[in-house]
Amino acid sequence: MSNQAPHYTLLYFASLGEQLGTQSETLKCEEGPETVGELISLLTKRGESWEPLLAPTTKVAVNQTIANRETTISAGDEIAFFPPVTGG
């Protein structure tokens, strides 16, 4: 592992996944983001189509637990973004 760049598993669910055109990816970067907010900044630099990540309604979970922009993340984490839930 020491020779590999840190990686993060990113998941995008439901309408958000459709808007972004992807449902999952493995993000590799040498200088990994340390918070959810930093990760969002990194992703939105890709272009306008990534701006839904900035929407206040967009939820985030880190390792399957609800998180927020301030939550710290580290290599190997699973970070999921999704719209408000509508089950039941």
Partner: protein, 148 residues
Amino acid sequence: MIRVQTEDFHLQTEYEALQQSGHSGAIVTFIGSVRDFTGLGTTEDNATFRLDHYPGMTEKVLEKIELQAKARWDLIATTIIHRVGELKAGDQIVLVGASSRHRKNAFEACEFMMDILKTQAPFWKKEGHHWVDAKESDNEAANRWLID
């Protein structure tokens, strides 16, 4: 007991499981089903209903909801079953059930589990090409459990 599954469920089976989990005196169950969203009486081929979820997190959230209900009310057993995948109008989606020595506990626990599930469990409904919007009334229903 929680389950997330594509297949249908049967009320009688789940009722008996609650009944057999201990001497209760009161069992309440609730079933939610797919509304006819096309307004035509039947769903058309291009108007399928789908339920997506976040495998792994969904189960964790449902287990937490059960634990919270059991901490709050004197319950003997609880059940939460939620279906995922493609469904059609009239199909069953969700079942919650609770057994207790007294009916009030069982009624309230079922309402609580549904209200929290609807706002916390990572499920998303898609009607045809349209993702269902979250409703403010669902948030209000969930929030009332924070007050009393």
